[in-house]
Amino acid sequence: MSADLLQQLSAINPERVEDVTADEIADVLSRFEERRAVMDTATRDTRRRHEPSGPRRQRRGWLVAVAAAAVVLLGVGGVAWLARGGGDGTPPADDEVVVTTTELEQETTVTSEAPSEETTTTTATTSPPHTTTTTLPAFELPPPSAAWWSAVPAALETPFVRDILATGDGFVAATASADDWTAMVWVSDDGTSWTSVGTLSPDVAVSEMWLAEAGNTVVVANQQLDDGRQTAVVWSGPDPGSLTPVDTNAFIAGDRVQAVSRGGPGIVAVGENGPTTTVLWASVDGTTWERFSDEAGAFDRSRPLSIAGTEDGFVAAGVTIDAEGGNDAAVWTSRDGSTWTRLMDAAFGGPGNQWMDDVAVGGGGFVAVGASWLEGQGVEGAVWHSPDGVTWSRIRNDGVFTSLPPGLGESNAIIEAVTAAGPGFIAAGTGGIGDGDDYRDAGIVWLSSDGLTWERLPAEALSFSAEYLRDVEAGADRVLIAGQASMATEILLWVPER
């Protein structure tokens, strides 16, 4: 029977090599060339920023050879691609971004204490009293206008930006390499010019990554194992340029981290080992970790996707399976990171499916963002607000959490990231623009001055080519959004005027 099965498996092969057409090969070459041009631009821009005298690597000759080979191999169908001109020899325009550096006008120092109530004996060992310095952005949001934002194309030489963290003196980015999926860390003073501080471990391929600061700079990543499973790996160091692997047995084969955050009690991570086992991790400084099980079953049939840390606890947001087998949003709270309570609120449910991708906390309370999906009606962004992390309401802004105003074509959106900026919030995601053959995915930005009332930036006015906005982060005096554009990461930057 097994041999028959394998023969049947061969028989249901849906595609055959000989069925590939010349047009398809030409299309792939065209897409390859677009990526190569972006990569070339990224390399050139990076060298211009950091190695002004470095020679530019030229590799245009291959293009003619490949095109000729494609034509010989596949016939005249590939000629259409040749007519488009091939390689991009046009030097890019100089960076048009003018960054106005302003002094930080407000800095708030928050002194946090250990949780007042210890729910488990392990809490004391993972959450000793310590002091946290939190810098809150001082600026307020302007009226929605694309004019406030400028784009830095190909700011990072990889499209796989996983997390960006604002530090006291700039930003840190964690990425996976476009070549071999190794973990890389980048630093920037201004969000415009980025410098790689190197590959963390040359033999470790990573998928998701998170950054945290707790005295040390900490990187947590899911590592791809050769057998198809994952585990988690941690690097830590006094600064982004001095990260070394953390030797810990808190992470084992099969672990997959789903969210990481730093709060007053320390760094917490939530994840799973297999589809039904939730695992929690906690660390004071990123160098020593403890592993916990979800003994209360707070995460049963659920998955947290983001955690927001405050000076005295954590709020996690994600998704759960509802009574009908669909998905509802879900929120959990924890004082110490090891013991969690799931909140039950009608605001998390409703017709169809909904989930929370990201949660942020700031002067305006908590905001969670995600999407809702109703069979036959497409996907639209979803936003929830809470003044205290415990009581939540769904924000209903018809026509705002989509990609286009009503009546202007197919409109949908997923909101993937949110950050607090002073009393307001900035969210980013992806939506569809246009109809029919002109339909495309586009990065979308939403703004709120209080978390309750939201407006969408007119996407068509943004000078931003990234289709997928991955992360948004507010620094001391500026906000940046990281987006995936072909084979590089674009940064969308807003520096408030003073």
Binding site: M1, S2, D4, L5, L6, Q8, L9, S10, I12, N13, P14, E15, R16, V17, D19, V20, E24, I25, V28, L29, R31, F32, E34, R35, R36, M39, P55, R57, R59, G61, W62, A65, V66, A68, A69, A70, V72, L73, F160, A178, D179, W181, S207, E208, Q224, D226, D227, G228, R303, N327, W355, A371, W373, V379, I414, T430, G432, D441, Y468, R470
Partner: protein, 184 residues
């Protein structure tokens, strides 16, 4: 500085293996995504042309596996939607999600393949769809040909078990067609 030799080598690489790599992706995802992933795979080859071994196809398939995994993890909007919605149903794995089979037993076989562990699934598909010899599969997956022999044997047994479970379910949800094939 890139040399004419490396340019020629890349040209030869694409000429010889471009259709195979595109087909690899077309078997596992939609046509547009397949083209994007094929372009990404050859971009890696272009950047690392000096690292590409003489027997390049397994190396390219290895890159292709990671390109597709990354695309499914962080790629298009609908891909994320599908993976997210599927993420809470431990029995469901949408790969290869674009395969649409209407006949119950074929659907059951696809279901059984999808329920395999990712490495088992890839192992069998590389053997039966890409028709790679076990030694080359070992190059793709980073193990010996002997290890591939053993893993194919075990994966096939798992496939048979999953198929036995999947057939009744598929037949209860799919209207059998007169020309349905396959034996129980």
């Amino acid at each position: 500085m890139a040399s004419l030799t490396s340019d020629r080598r890349f040209s030869d690489l694409y000429e010889q293996h471009g259709p195979q790599i595109l087909t690899y992706f077309k078997r596992r995802t939609d046509s547009e995504t397949a083209k994007d992933c094929a372009a990404d795979t050859f971009l890696v080859a272009w950047r690392r042309i000096d690292d590409v071994p003489a027997d390049a196809l397994p190396w390219l398939y290895g890159v292709a596996r990671r390109v597709l995994a990354n695309h499914r993890r962080s790629g298009g909007r609908m891909g994320r939607l599908v993976s997210r919605l599927a993420g809470f149903r431990p029995d469901a794995d949408p790969d290869p999600e674009t395969i649409v089979l209407r006949r119950a037993d074929e659907a059951a076989l696809v279901d059984a393949v999808n329920r395999l562990r990712p490495d088992d699934r890839e192992l069998l598909l590389l053997a039966r769809w890409e028709e790679l010899p076990h030694a080359q599969i070992g190059d793709v997956l980073g193990c010996s040909a002997h290890a591939v022999d053993q893993r194919v044997h075990r994966a096939t047994r798992r496939l048979a078990r999953e198929f036995a479970v999947a057939v009744p379910r598929a037949r209860s949800t799919t209207t059998p067609q007169p020309e349905s094939r396959g034996e129980l």
